[in-house]
Amino acid sequence: MRPRSLVPILYILFLMLPIYWLVAMSFKTTNEILGGFSLFPQEWTLDNYRTIFTDPTWYWGYFNSIFYVSLNTVISLLAALPAAYAFSRYSFMGDKHLFFWLLTNRMAPVAVFALPFFQLYSAVGLFDTHLAVALAHCLFNIPLAVWILEGFMSGIPRELDESAFVDGYSFPRFFTTIFVPTIKAGIGVTAFFLFMFSWVELLLAKTLTAVHAKPIAAVMTRTASSAGYELGLLAAAGVLTIIPGAIVIYFVRNYIAKGFALGRV
């Protein structure tokens, strides 16, 4: 082992410590947690997890989150693909201004928009639906998707398009059967970032939902305050929110490395 590999190892150790503590907490009983410090759970208990899996408000929180995050990823990708193609291939009136305007939407402090969003989505009758959260997250996810995809698409030589058109492909057929498969890795990376930013956002998701579409993170906040000091339960819920993310990373792990290399990074 070379000494330079110490840097990533130490960094990963630092990353894992709080996660370890969360996992350890989730297997402890409330008495043990409040009773004093212990590095490992003394009596292992699955009660915290049992509570979550048997209580519908808890497990529906997970389904709600996964549902609106997936919906947002699909909507953002479908809208961003043609737009990113336009930005990477054509110049048109106002293209640069439009691109920068899109980016500015990532800069808007979400806290600013919480109240107007609530009013807007109540007015159009979408309040407390998965669609409302999925659409609201488009505010910061679509600009990001256009930005990343445009980079990948600019890395693909224009000759690909031209030769396909010479071969008599119509635009829709070229786009779906040749172009999209070519930038598969880029789409994978983009989907990863879309999933990530929608999964971790809470403020808007909480503002736009009440009962039917309430995200897991909001269920957690409410439980934490109403049930007092149930740290074990909170920790178990926290551990369960890490798992979907971990699964997504596992699937895109090769795309992250390879995908970025293809793009105009």
């Binding site: 840097v7 990533p8 996660i19 961003a80 930005f87 293209d95 939407n105 402090p109 806290a111 993310g245």
Partner: protein, 286 residues
């Protein structure tokens, strides 16, 4: 050269509609509030630019802005060099690459309030791993709810924990896009490690680092959930950053006018800094 084609507007139309719906309507609502005074009951009166003057003069806003700038500057100074250093020392191929990538991305995919809650549990003085270690093993008096310094350090360490990986991922992506031939040429010239970094790796990472710094600037400037869950803005007001202060004014006191004026000033500031940075960093590309 890109072809001139005005029909490309049809391609960007879905994006335009979706983002405009989400951005323009709420923004107009905020602008609307910012120039009016309300006494409840949905009665509004024209107030001109009064709120803007009030906010720009208020010491509370200056203090929150100061804390925010200090926070953002600190985390950028720590996270960017650290992220680059880790990316440079990561393995380039083999079994350990996906292992590193998966483990390092993990903090990025944890919901923000869970990050706050996790660090809260981690730093509890008597029963948290870090809190116990500092207080009992090292004998340092550490209590986030009482000492502003401890609260600041914890919030910054939490942000470094949470976001350095984003810089690592982007910098690493820039690094592996460098062709092997560049390194061979450097070897023939007997270039030092520093020279390789300065003249090969850094220029190749410039674009991704621009993205990383912009993303980190924008997101840390808007930070709300993690410090809110961890410290609630305290002790006192010591970790009340702009967004936390804003939500206190808007939802806590329901002062919509001042809150709206404050958020527009805040937004304009973020926009200005990002635009300046973006323009300077991409100047050479044109």
């Amino acid at each position: 050269m890109k072809t001139q084609n005005q029909r490309a507007w049809f391609f960007v139309l879905p994006v335009l509609i979706l983002v405009a719906f989400n951005a323009l309507v709420p923004l107009m609502t905020v602008v609307n509030y910012s120039v009016q005074e309300t006494f409840g009951d949905n009665l509004f009166f024209w107030h001109g630019l009064g709120w803007f003057e009030d906010v720009l003069r208020s010491e509370r806003f200056h203090a929150a802005l100061g804390r925010q700038i200090l926070f953002t500057a600190t985390i950028l100074i720590i996270e960017v060099p650290l992220g680059v250093a880790i990316a440079l020392t990561m393995p380039r191929k083999g079994f350990w690459v996906p292992v590193c990538l998966v483990l390092m991305s993990l903090p990025l995919l944890i919901p923000w309030n869970v990050v706050g809650a996790m660090w809260n549990i981690f730093t509890l003085p008597d029963i948290g791993l870090l809190g116990y270690f500092l207080n009992t093993v090292l004998g340092i008096d550490y209590n986030m709810t009482q000492s502003p310094v401890a609260a600041w350090v914890t919030v910054i360490v939490m942000d470094v924990w949470h976001w350095t990986s984003l810089v690592v991922l982007l910098a690493y992506a820039g690094l592996i896009s460098i062709p092997e031939a560049y390194y061979q040429a450097a070897k023939i010239d007997a270039a030092s490690n520093w020279a390789i970094f300065r003249y090969i790796q850094l220029p190749k990472m410039k674009r991704v680092l621009t993205i990383a710094i912009l993303l980190r600037f924008m997101d840390s400037f808007n930070i709300y959930t993690e410090p809110f869950v961890l410290t609630g803005g305290g002790p006192g007001n010591s970790t009340t950053f702009l967004s936390i202060d804003l939500v206190k004014v808007a939802l806590g006191q329901f002062d919509l006018g001042p809150a709206a004026a404050m958020s527009l000033i805040y937004f304009a500031f973020t926009l200005l800094v990002s635009w300046l940075f973006y323009t300077i960093m991409t100047k050479d590309e044109q």
